[in-house]
């Protein structure tokens, strides 16, 4: 995605071929001492799959080869070569962990308790190294699923510490560090959904559980930094729902705070859809007439300031329809008025947002 095309001249093409050849040669020099004589990258990959993997070579050399293929030689590494990640994990399992190699479809192997083949110290060290490796890789490839997955796997295999007084120490510090790392990733790209997914996983899995309220505060921070951060608003819907469901937060008073927050966003950035989507979610099925009418007023006020605001008009139509269907008597003067208002708004919407004309027409 996102790679510009150049009109390659013959010269440029030839130069590119030379550069690629140089990369391949450098790559191959590195692997020369691991018994592999390859003249192309395809041969190398073939040798990996047909020789090492086929012979189930779980040696240090094999492990070293996976490191190179996945991370060391930055010119030609391919962190998306998932078979090599699998192989690396199998070496870790074979050499350090259970001695059981993972073959699909026996997923139970990775979820069930494993026998430690090495001392906890050794296991901790080797997994810590892999975590460090994925941290480096994620900085360059923040959206590669396979890297996030390997990180998760390492985390789940961190053993209890050998010190009985503080057996959970490793796990506690490792997971705290995870939260810190994922926060850094989200600072770099606040819309990276793999990072958000990972954050949700860490928050749910940490031995020292983070409260929903703490997570809510995190989403507030992200939203106040950028009202346009849809990912943060989305996270907020999950956290708030959880707080309401558990009864930890009183829904009625919380709702008021949420409306205040989202109105702030709507008035500051009326052209941004995140706040409008969140607002619509807060309104929900429109059961509460008081809230519904109040919010219609709010949007009406904003529309007066921003007469061309499509979101204002679309929201008004949606909310007035809720009013119509839930609270007004069929045939009453009020319902007739509201219907007329909706039709007028829809006609305006067809004008200012012609791409979605048919939707406005259908609603009408």
């Amino acid at each position: 995605h996102g790679v510009r095309r150049t009109r390659d001249t013959q010269q440029a093409l030839a130069a590119k071929r030379e550069r690629d050849k140089a990369k391949l040669s450098a790559y191959l020099v590195l692997t020369d001492d691991i018994l592999i004589r390859a003249c192309t990258l395809s041969l190398l990959h073939n040798l990996f799959t047909r020789t090492f993997k086929k012979n189930k070579d779980w040696s240090r050399e094999a492990f070293g080869l996976t490191t190179q293929l996945l991370s060391t030689h930055t010119d030609v590494i391919n962190p998306e070569f998932y078979t090599i990640w699998n192989y690396r994990r199998n070496i870790l399992l074979q050499r350090y962990l259970s001695g059981k190699v993972c073959h699909p479809p026996h997923i139970s192997i990775i979820r069930s308790p494993f026998i430690l083949r090495s001392s906890p110290d050794e296991i901790h060290e080797v997994l810590d190294n892999d975590l460090a490796m994925t941290t480096k890789l994620l900085k360059v490839h923040p959206k590669v699923y396979w890297i996030w997955n390997h990180r998760r796997w390492c985390l789940e295999h961190i053993p209890e510490g050998p010190n009985s007084a503080n057996a959970q120490a490793w796990r506690l510090s490792t997971w705290e560090r995870e939260l810190f790392i994922v926060e850094k990733m989200l600072e770099a790209d606040s819309r990276n959904f793999l990072a958000w997914d990972y954050r949700r996983y860490v928050v749910a899995s940490m031995p020292a559980r983070r409260s929903d309220k703490a997570e809510l505060a995190y989403t507030t921070k992200k939203i106040e930094a950028n009202f346009s951060n849809f990912s943060a608003w989305h996270q907020r819907t999950k956290v708030i729902s959880s707080l309401w469901a558990s009864g930890e937060t009183d829904k009625a008073s919380s709702l008021q705070k949420e409306f205040a927050l989202v109105q702030n966003a709507m008035f500051t950035l009326p052209e941004d859809q995140s706040a409008w989507l969140y607002h619509r979610w807060l309104i929900g099925s429109g059961d509460d007439k008081v809230i519904l009418e109040r919010e219609i007023e709010v949007v009406q006020t904003l529309l007066a300031e921003q007469p061309d605001s499509k979101w204002c008009m679309d929201s008004l139509v949606t909310y007035k329809l809720l009013l119509l269907n839930n609270h007004l008597h069929v045939g009453s003067q009020e319902s007739i008025n509201v219907t007329k208002q909706c039709l007028a708004l829809l006609a305006q919407l067809e004008e200012i947002d012609p791409m979605r004309r048919q939707r406005y027409h259908d609603i009408g």
Binding site: R5, Y82, R111, F193, W196, D197, Q235, M355, R356
Partner: protein, 325 residues
């Protein structure tokens, strides 16, 4: 800048893929080769040039990716089995009427064995879960005629758990809505006859709002347009019968402008490098929009509509009518 589909150029582009084995890119993409074969074959079918690639060669390649330890297909010979490549393999073989070559019982076991207690599917033994894999499982079982072996209730329950405040779906329960995940969840629900799980008016609205002023579609709010969303968003809308809620003319123009008029192929957006992924999804999007001269595409399976109909798997969906040239 082109205002017509450069079919012959795209056919040649696809034919030439994989011919240049000295190209670094070729090797760097081995991990998705099976998917690439599916993308190429399907694009050719939509463009009515199915025979541009030799069927037997293609089938042989697919079979060479069989991972006998796992009982399923990997991305490339010697690569581990994964549900993504397994579905692509099934799709390619089905397209070439060669499903009989599959050891179906083993593949079915592989797929079913990947379902988690929550209802989601993992991609392989190492357990990454994603609604994409759930879709792969449902589609694969459906194409192999083994959907009755699926725990439907558990599967649908997980899909419902992935539904978000905006009507969309994410890659796992709790995850943000994203057009590609919306498609896999919507299509899976279509196969399972459970579109009732979807809030159609809200999701239809969210999908319609993916269209940007330049006519292209993005995958989620505040993101850039990308040709592949022409497929993910459009096919979801076709399944929900809301395809008229976007501007077809503007989108058609956008897709056509992302073509490479010299070498063929389609890119994610105008001026970028082409690839077979965007070539398929650009052509698929055009087919759903009724572009003349193309074959119908089934938006639930992303395979030729006639084939899916012949297999008795067609669901209710609505594309735009095919225009005359």
């Amino acid at each position: 800048m082109s205002d017509t589909l450069l079919t012959n150029l795209h056919v040649k582009y696809i034919q030439n893929l994989g011919k240049n084995k000295d190209d670094l890119t070729y090797h760097m993409t081995a991990h998705l080769r099976m998917n690439a074969v599916y993308w190429g074959v399907t694009a050719l079918c939509i463009m009515k040039h199915k025979d541009a690639l030799d069927a037997e060669e293609t089938i042989e390649y697919v079979m060479s990716c069989w991972d006998d330890e796992a009982g399923a297909f990997g991305a490339h010979p010697g690569h581990d089995a994964h549900i993504l490549s397994t579905l692509s393999a099934i799709q390619v073989l089905a397209t070439h009427d060669a499903l009989a070559r599959i050891d179906a019982p083993r593949v079915i076991d592989f797929v079913l064995g990947l379902q988690q207690p929550s209802g989601v599917f993992a991609g392989d033994a190492f357990g990454e879960t994603d609604t994409r894999f759930l879709y792969c499982a449902v589609s694969a079982l459906s194409l192999l005629g083994a959907l009755d072996r699926l725990d439907r209730a558990r599967t649908v329950a997980y899909l419902a758990a992935c539904r978000n405040f905006d009507g969309g779906f994410g890659r796992v329960a709790g995850a943000e809505s994203h057009a590609a995940q919306v498609w896999v969840c919507t299509a899976a629900l279509a196969i399972l006859d459970r579109l009732d799980v979807i809030d159609v008016s809200t999701l239809g609205w969210w999908l319609a709002e993916r269209q940007l002023p330049n006519g292209g579609l993005n995958g989620r709010p505040e993101k850039l347009e990308d040709v592949c969303y022409s497929y993910w968003v459009l096919s979801s809308m076709a399944i929900l019968n809301k395809l008229t809620w976007i501007d077809a003319t503007a989108l058609t123009r956008f897709i056509l402008s992302a073509q490479d008029p010299d070498g063929g192929g389609i890119a994610d957006r105008p001026g970028d490098m082409v690839d077979v992924f965007h070539t398929l999804f650009g052509v698929a999007g055009l087919s759903l929009l009724g572009y003349p001269g193309l074959d119908d595409l089934d938006p639930v399976y992303c395979m030729p509509a006639s084939l899916i109909e012949r297999l008795g798997l067609k669901k209710g969906w609505k594309a735009l009518p095919r225009r005359e040239a």
